[in-house]
């Protein structure tokens, strides 16, 4: 268990300990949290092992997503469906590309420093699979030559929108997510291997590419959707 009570409580709210207990031996007492503390959790940490799990995730989240996206973030009513699509495509990437299972969680937060108290919704997806470099190696490595590595693989997938499949219908998920994020001034970041790429909106000061990070097997994808300017702040 983490030593800091705040961290322990956050992990309880995130629903971390359930899935963690399947993988780790947990020592220490899991604190209890009040129901009202869970109101910002749209989806606790949920395993995605197969395509059926994606149906469950998307189906379960819609009511809560509609409440937060339209009421708190001030997005258009159709944003709930678009959000569901982005979530679905992000989860499918685990099943399609990682070669193993992964997890997804969706929370609402208040960004006090970066957005002056505006609310955001964050989708976080992670897996411990083969990562972007290995997933794209067979079709893309030769094209990049000496440049090939984790950063080049992320660039190929996110910026050049290539897919490991030769079927021309494949690889429309990430471009679709990017289109929505552009409309909402949202942020996309993906870490895989030793690199991390980000599509950075004007409100954020992140860098587009970071290299030489400690190796991370698999991939972590994060989507941040901020409240519209003028939406109520907390």
């Amino acid at each position: 268990m983490p030593e800091a009570d705040e961290v322990r409580r956050y992990w309880v709210r995130a629903g971390f300990f359930g899935p963690a207990a399947e993988l780790f031996e947990l020592h220490g007492k899991v604190p209890k949290v009040k129901v009202e503390e869970l109101s910002d959790v749209l989806l606790s940490v949920t395993a995605v092992r197969a395509m059926e799990d994606v149906h469950g995730v998307v189906g379960r989240i819609q009511e809560g997503a509609a409440r937060i996206l339209t009421n708190e973030l001030g997005l258009e009513p159709a944003a709930t469906a678009r959000f569901g699509m982005a979530l679905s495509e992000a989860c499918q990437n685990i099943v399609e590309h990682s070669g193993t299972s992964g997890w997804v969680a969706v929370h609402a937060y208040t960004f006090r420093r970066r957005l002056g108290g505006r609310r955001v919704v964050v989708i976080a997806v992670g897996d411990a699979g083969v990562g972007f470099r290995r997933s794209l190696e067979a079709t893309q490595a030769r094209r990049f030559g000496d440049r090939w590595g984790d950063a080049a693989a992320l660039e190929a997938a996110v910026i050049q929108e290539v897919s490991r499949f030769r079927d021309p219908g494949r690889g429309q998920g990430l471009p679709g997510i990017k289109r929505y994020l552009l409309r909402w001034q949202g942020k996309l970041s993906i870490r895989s291997g030793t690199a991390r790429i980000a599509i950075v909106p004007p409100w954020d000061e992140d860098v587009p590419m970071t290299e030489s990070l400690p190796p991370f097997p698999g991939a972590q994808l994060q989507i941040v959707i901020p409240a519209k300017e003028g939406a109520p702040t907390t």
Partner: protein, 178 residues
């Protein structure tokens, strides 16, 4: 002859899900296979895929259900779409444009059909004219629009290739819609 296929029902019967969302490529593939079987049992005419009770549609599923179905060609049956919400329209348009495809959308029995996907302006104009004034050959269409016959023929050929109008000899006609 118009045959309506309720996509939400196909989804429930095919995937055995309680949800009404068309998500994931595997689901799309299964739904398309089922729709394809229904279409194979029809003797020509138009198959209207009714999305009115479908929840959300993601890009992967839209690609499998709509784009791949149009790419497969469906014998003598022409596929049109109905009951699309704003977000359905946006997603399906995205995948159709990706494949340089287009489809006829019939929003309501008394409304004008429209095109969704990648169609140039001239083909769009000819499509609208055909639906407003009925069947015509290339020369007549050219006269209506103030174009030469060759230009009208090119636009009509595009619409036929994309299976958005019917050709009977030298005459081009709108699809039979409700």
């Amino acid at each position: 002859m118009m045959h309506t296929i309720r996509v939400d029902r196909v989804l429930r019967e095919t995937v055995n899900t309680s949800y009404s969302d068309l998500v994931t490529r595997a689901t799309g593939r299964a739904v398309r296979t089922s729709i394809r079987q229904t279409i194979a049992g029809l003797e020509g005419g138009t198959a209207l895929l009714d999305f009115s009770s479908v929840g959300l549609v993601d890009f992967s599923c839209a690609d499998e259900v709509v784009a791949q179905l149009l790419l497969e060609k469906t014998d003598d049956v022409i596929v049109v779409l109905g009951g699309l919400r704003e977000d359905h329209t946006e997603t399906i348009e995205h995948v159709l444009t990706h494949h340089a495809l287009a489809v006829v959308v019939q929003e309501s029995p008394d409304g004008c059909p429209r095109l969704l996907g990648l169609v140039d302006r001239e083909a769009q104009e000819v499509f609208e004219r055909l639906h407003a004034h009925g069947a015509a050959d290339a020369e007549t269409m050219g006269q209506h629009l103030g174009w030469d016959a060759e230009r009208a023929q090119d636009a009509l050929d595009t619409l036929v290739r994309l299976r958005l109008v019917r050709q009977e000899g030298l005459t081009f006609a709108p699809l039979p819609l409700p």
